[in-house]
């Protein structure tokens, strides 16, 4: 197993490097000069001198490979340079918002799991009955509903039915957990419902597969009550692929929150990213993409470790 893990660990680096190379050079194929594009928005005519000054400020006058190495070395030390738009250090900007996005992502994942596992199990137990169909339609609908629209509908319903709006000003968890919960539960529900769809299907198919195994028949044959058969024998084994799916979705969630943060006016990584794209703040985009995909790659690796640890077939290989 150690050999497998080591190999898996080492494979992570070429991918990370690939991501860094790709995003860096993508930002360099921008038609025209980054500085020119940025300045042209200001007042029209800008003197060549100022343009040159700006280029020097961002190090754009140096050879591309040198720029890349400088940037990469900075990124390794979590120093992503300064924003092209505000001039603020990017590391600070991101640090402020990371916790918020992370919290919503965790809450949304919890919502997804709490929805997916019971629904998936019921759907599998009642295969091909109306219950199964309702659950399947519910989960396919989750995949089809844009979570930002669901967010708007939530706000609308709260407003019309309860004459109440979730707080719009962010309260950190450690200041007032209840206020914080009241604000963040709605985006978590909207996103969680969407993300529960895949997990529900996975739970259903994994349960269906496990329930056909010999050891389930054995457990039933020896007279074990159905509840124990399901919880101790079936569910425990069916959870393995579900866990992997949920973890991978969690890894993508950090980026997937982009649109929903807009609706709830949450100043997280997603909102920052949209602003960066709208303002063509290339250094900020570079940093954010690297962080989000780096996070995905690391979580992906963590899932593999977890899998290896939980599945004795891999653990003892």
């Amino acid at each position: 197993m150690w050999k497998y893990l080591l190999k898996r660990f080492l494979l992570m680096f070429p991918t990370l490097l690939g991501v860094a190379v790709l995003i860096f050079f993508l930002m360099r194929v921008v038609p025209g000069d980054v500085v020119e594009i940025r300045m042209s928005g200001d007042r029209g005519a800008v003197s060549e001198e100022i343009l040159q000054q700006e280029r020097v400020r961002f190090g754009l006058d140096r050879p591309v490979w040198e720029q890349f190495l400088t940037w990469l070395w900075g990124a390794v030390r979590l120093d992503f340079g300064t924003s092209m738009w505000t001039g603020a250090p990017i590391g600070e900007e991101i640090k402020l918002r990371f916790a918020l996005s992370m919290q919503v992502a965790i809450m949304a994942t919890l919502v997804a799991v709490l929805l997916a596992i019971p629904l998936g199990v019921i759907s599998a137990l009642k295969q091909d009955t109306w219950v199964d169909y309702v659950v399947r339609v519910f989960s396919i609908a989750g995949l089809a509903t844009p979570s930002f629209w669901l967010g708007i509908v939530f706000i609308l319903l709260l407003l019309i039915v309860f004459k109440w709006l979730p707080p719009m000003v962010y309260t950190p968890f450690w200041v007032d957990p209840w206020q914080n919960f009241l604000q963040l539960i709605w985006p978590a529900l909207a996103v969680g419902y969407r993300y529960s769809a895949v997990a529900t299907r996975m739970t259903r198919s994994a349960m269906l597969e496990v329930l056909r195994e010999d050891y389930i028949r054995t457990a039933r044959a020896k007279g074990l009550i159905e509840k124990l058969v399901l919880s101790r024998h079936a569910l425990k084994n069916a959870m393995l692929p579900v866990l992997a799916v949920v973890a991978l979705e969690f890894a993508f969630l950090l980026g997937g929150l982009v649109v929903t943060e807009q609706v709830f006016n949450l100043n997280g990584l997603g909102l920052l990213f949209v602003q960066a794209v709208a303002q063509r703040d290339y250094t900020l985009i570079q940093a954010l993409v690297l962080i989000v995909s780096g996070f995905f790659i690391v979580v992906n690796f963590a899932v593999d470790i977890l899998y290896a640890w939980l599945d004795p077939r891999i653990r003892f290989r």
Binding site: P14, T15, G18, V19, L22, I23, L26, M27, V29, V30, P31, Y133, V137, I140, A141, L143, A144, T145, P146, F148, W149, L150, I152, V153, I155, L156, L159, I160, F252, L254, G255, G256, V258, V259, Q262, V263, F273, V274, A276, V277, A278, R280, Y282, I285, L288, V289, V292, S293, F296, I297, N300
Partner: protein
């Protein structure tokens, strides 16, 4: 049940079906009612998009300050928006945008992905390894993040929007197609083609690509739903389709949220349209997968 199905099959065997497509469609409707519902909605959408100018008397971009934020009524069935534009007309014309971007992105994404996947499987060895590594890199970007980054680079007009949605689809398709192409490569007829001295291009295009048609079609329909959703998201963020073009995501932006309480029709209907369209494509795609994938057919 099984015997019944078997005899049904026997009945189908005597006398070759005169119109195989019609029979296949009838079979699909009977066996997969949910998929048929999806297909019906998809067809409806196509008809609506084609006949948009016949279905509504209103111009989707015509501003009418006399009828701002009008609630649903006999003249404006689904009400009007903050510029007095008819919501129904914008929904109807919006289906054109959704289908155009959806079909464009899904088609290019699935096709380029299929060619890459088949090529990667056919050549194997080092080519395969490098292509896979590059795909791995692309796969570690969340869909919308990559699309947004591309919008930032290219700027947002319609062709660029389609490109931005296409590129994240390619590696997802290449991955699946490669897996099925790997088994096809080992087939005797590929050896035969090679022995007959056919070139790589001919073998890939004429012998391998047609045999990955089933996963290709499945991916195409799955991507369609995703592409429509992605276009709506980007337009909602203001980084996709631009005003005054009618697009569902765009309709949910700005005023729809500001006036949500006073004019909820502005926020409700475009979202329903997006959900219904994507839902229909997903239902249809799922059933198509069940019907075309031989491994799932027995279930």
């Amino acid at each position: 049940m099984a015997i019944e199905r078997a005899t049904e099959r026997l009945g189908e065997l005597d006398g070759a079906p005169a119109r195989p497509w019609v029979d296949a469609a009838r079979d699909f409707v009977r066996r997969r009612p949910l998929g048929a519902v999806g297909a019906a909605v998809v067809l409806l959408m196509l008809v609506v998009a084609l006949l948009a100018n016949l279905l509504t008397p209103y111009n989707p971009v015509a501003v009418d300050f006399a009828a701002m934020l009008a609630p649903p009524s006999a003249s404006h069935w689904l009400g009007t928006d903050a510029f007095g534009r008819d919501v129904l007309a914008r929904l109807i014309y919006g289906s054109r945008t959704a289908l155009f971007v959806g079909f464009g992105a899904a088609f290019f994404g699935a096709t380029v992905g299929a060619v890459l996947g088949v090529g990667s499987a056919y050549f194997g060895g080092r080519v395969d390894l490098y292509v896979q590594r590059v795909m791995d890199v692309f796969l570690s970007f969340p869909l919308i993040i990559l699309a947004l980054a591309i919008v930032a680079i290219l700027g947002n007009n319609l062709p660029n929007l389609i490109t931005a949605i296409t590129i994240p689809m390619i590696p997802r398709c290449a991955l699946v197609i490669r897996a099925s192409a790997l088994s096809i490569r080992e087939m005797p007829y590929i050896d035969a083609a090679r022995a007959a001295g056919f070139g790589h291009g001919r073998i890939i295009l004429r012998h391998m690509l047609p045999n990955v048609m089933a996963p290709y079609l499945i991916l195409l329909t799955a991507f369609l739903g995703q592409a429509i959703l992605l276009e709506a998201s980007l337009s909602f963020l203001g980084l996709g389709v631009q005003e005054p073009t009618a697009a569902w995501g765009l309709m949910l932006r700005g005023a729809a949220v500001e006036f949500a309480e006073a004019a909820p029709w502005m926020a409700i209907f475009p979202g329903l349209a997006i959900s219904l369209a994507v839902f229909a494509f997903n239902l249809f795609g799922d059933s198509l997968r069940d019907a075309l994938d031989p491994r799932l057919r027995t279930q």
